[in-house]
């Protein structure tokens, strides 16, 4: 298993390398630069700024320098926020985004799994149809629709929750629901499908034949086996959360990584954008590896090759 982990990590290096190169090429191919503000800078000031950030060197030198810096986990200085390094910005934004993401994931799992189980145990009954229609609605209502509608109802018409910003736990309620609902719906559908399959399997029939109570059969014998597809869904789910957080953080004015990315892209903040993209890439690769390891631990039939 250690060998497998190391091989997977080694395999991630070319992926991240390509990601980095693509981001670099794209940022530099784009028209406009970080110092194209509203007012024209004096040529000398501009030259000094470019010299300071090494923008006056040939591209391949800049690329080499950036690779070397990134290899030492130094993402460089931000252009947009003067005197702040990209590392600092990521360090300040990541805990916020991670809290939001983890809470949304928990929300999705805690509600989605029981919903799917209930639907599976009453297959083709009223609960099943209601739950699955609700799940389909959850998938079909985009988070950027859900978020403003919730703000309208809970913050504008009724003053129950804050419309945005960061503060106490109440600031997280609407963002978490907005970000987690679609995922919860997916989890419910997955849980239903795999639960139905597991309930028909031999080991569940054996458990029933032994005379175990219905609750014990469902919770102890069926549920762990039914959870494996949900575990493997966590990889794509994490990527979805990261994507969704861009728009959710913008809507609710939450100072997380997603907002840094959007403002960085709009202001041609090369280093910030590349830093955030690379950081996301590392996160996704790491999370997928974690999920695969967890999967093997849950299901001994999976062999690490």
């Amino acid at each position: 298993m250690l060998g497998y982990t190391l091989r997977r990590l080694a395999g991630a290096v070319p992926t991240l390398f390509i990601l980095l190169t693509l981001a670099f090429v794209m940022m530099r191919a784009a028209p406009g630069g970080p110092f194209d503000g509203d007012r024209e800078l004096p040529p000398q000031v501009r030259a000094n700024l470019e010299a300071k950030y090494h923008l006056d060197e040939p591209l391949y030198v800049q690329y080499g320098r950036y690779l070397w810096d990134v290899a030492r986990f130094d993402f460089g200085p931000s252009f947009q926020y003067r005197d702040v390094s990209v590392n600092d910005l990521i360090a300040s934004g990541f805990p916020v985004s991670a809290t939001l993401g983890a809470a949304s994931l928990a929300f999705a799992l805690i509600l989605g799994v029981p919903l799917g189980m209930a639907a599976a145990l009453r297959q083709n009954g009223a609960i099943d149809y209601t739950a699955m229609t609700a799940a389909m609605l959850g998938i079909s209502i985009p988070n950027f629709v859900l978020a403003p509608l919730m703000i309208l109802v809970f913050a504008v018409y009724n003053d129950w929750l804050p419309a945005g910003g960061l503060g106490g736990p109440q600031h997280y309620v609407m963002p978490v629901i907005a970000l987690g609902t679609a995922m919860m719906a997916y989890v419910a559908r997955l849980a239903r499908a795999s639960m139905i399959e597991v309930m028909r399997s031999n080991h569940v029939r054996t458990a029933r034949a032994k005379g175990l109570s219905a609750a014990r059969v469902v919770w102890v014998h069926a549920l762990p086996a039914a959870l494996t597809p949900i575990v493997s869904f966590l990889g794509p789910a994490a990527a979805g959360i990261i994507t969704g957080s861009v728009v959710i953080e913008t809507i609710f004015g939450i100072p997380g990584l997603g907002q840094f990315f959007v403002s960085g892209a709009l202001n041609r903040d090369y280093t910030l954008v590349m830093g955030v993209v690379l950081f996301y890439g590392i996160l996704i690769v790491g999370f997928n590896l974690l999920v695969d390891l967890l999967y093997g631990w849950l299901d001994p039939r999976v062999a690490y090759r």
Binding site: I18, L19, M136, S140, V145, T250
Partner: protein, 294 residues
């Protein structure tokens, strides 16, 4: 033809996969209802604007913030510039549906060709081709699309290509898996024995047998693409004025929702209903073509 031959022919004709699927799909009430609702939405988007005296870009400062109603044929009201929401919502629907269709076709063509080639050739070629797909899978593409839109302007053609170029990965994987399964079948072997070259086998024998999977995939990809375009438009990176899409309208509506909630609610409901219908139809098709999951 006498009666006996007719009976014989009817018995021999048998039931094809597609006829079986059609029968099962008809029995799925949710899918049929979704098909009907979707038909109404599409028809309204295509033909609806002609029935209104207004168009989607003319600004009428004598009629701003009109609430939905029958007054002056502003059935869904107007926005802060006096533009008619009924026509704008349907016009936006045209754009969203068009992008959904075209980008899906782009990803379909790339995915089917790539997946079928990798699966049919197998061996080292397959290994390399699928490794490329794996690497691309790990890319946070959304961010590249956002960067593309920011840097190179909001160009509809670019949206098509960018979305299509992302979505083909899933299709390539699915098609490759199916091709691997098909490849060992006797009819493929027969074609190879008869001397058919690989491209001909892929085009004439493999691809037609993938149509079932492809049909399901199309109905499930179109809503994804529509959602993605709306997401871009919501960030202000999708289609540019005077053209509009549901995502762009939702963004405008969200900015003014305190004053004019209908500007948010109308496009939001249309978008959600469309996605809902597509998803239900896709589910129904999958159950119909692949009955083992029932």
């Amino acid at each position: 033809m006498n009666a006996r031959a007719e009976t014989l022919e009817r018995a021999v004709r048998g039931r094809s996969l597609w006829r079986d699927a059609l029968v099962r799909l008809r029995a799925n009430r949710a899918a049929i209802a979704s098909l009907a609702v979707l038909g109404v939405i599409v028809a309204a988007c295509v033909a609806g604007p002609w029935f209104s005296p207004h168009d989607h870009f003319t600004q009428d400062y004598g009629a701003i913030w009109v609430e939905p109603g029958l007054a002056d044929a502003h059935w869904f009201g107007t926005d802060g510039l006096g533009r008619d929401l009924f026509v704008r919502a349907l016009e936006g629907g045209r754009m969203s549906l068009l992008i959904g269709l075209v980008a899906t076709l782009v990803s379909l063509v790339i995915g089917v060709v790539y997946g079928a080639t990798a699966g049919y050739l197998g061996g080292r070629v397959d290994g390399v081709m699928m490794r490329i797909v794996d690497i691309l899978y790990a890319m946070p593409f959304l961010f590249f699309v956002i960067l593309l839109m920011v840097f190179f302007g909001r160009n509809i053609l670019l949206i098509f290509v960018a979305i299509g170029a992302i979505n083909w990965l899933d299709m390539a994987r699915i098609v490759r898996g199916q091709t691997l399964a098909l490849k060992g079948q006797p009819f493929i072997e027969a074609a190879r024995m008869a001397g058919a070259p690989a491209p001909a086998i892929i085009a004439r024998h493999i691809v037609p047998n993938l149509l079932g999977v492809v049909a399901v995939y199309i109905t499930l990809t179109i809503p994804q693409v529509i959602l993605f375009e709306s997401f871009l438009s919501f960030l202000g990176l999708g289609v540019a004025e005077p053209a509009t899409s549901w995502g762009a309208l939702i963004k405008d509506g969200a900015d003014e929702m305190g004053r004019a909630p209908w500007l948010l609610v109308v496009p939001a409901v249309l978008l959600a209903a469309t996605l809902f219908c597509f998803n239900f139809i896709g589910d129904g098709l999958r159950d119909a073509l692949d009955p083992k999951d029932r």
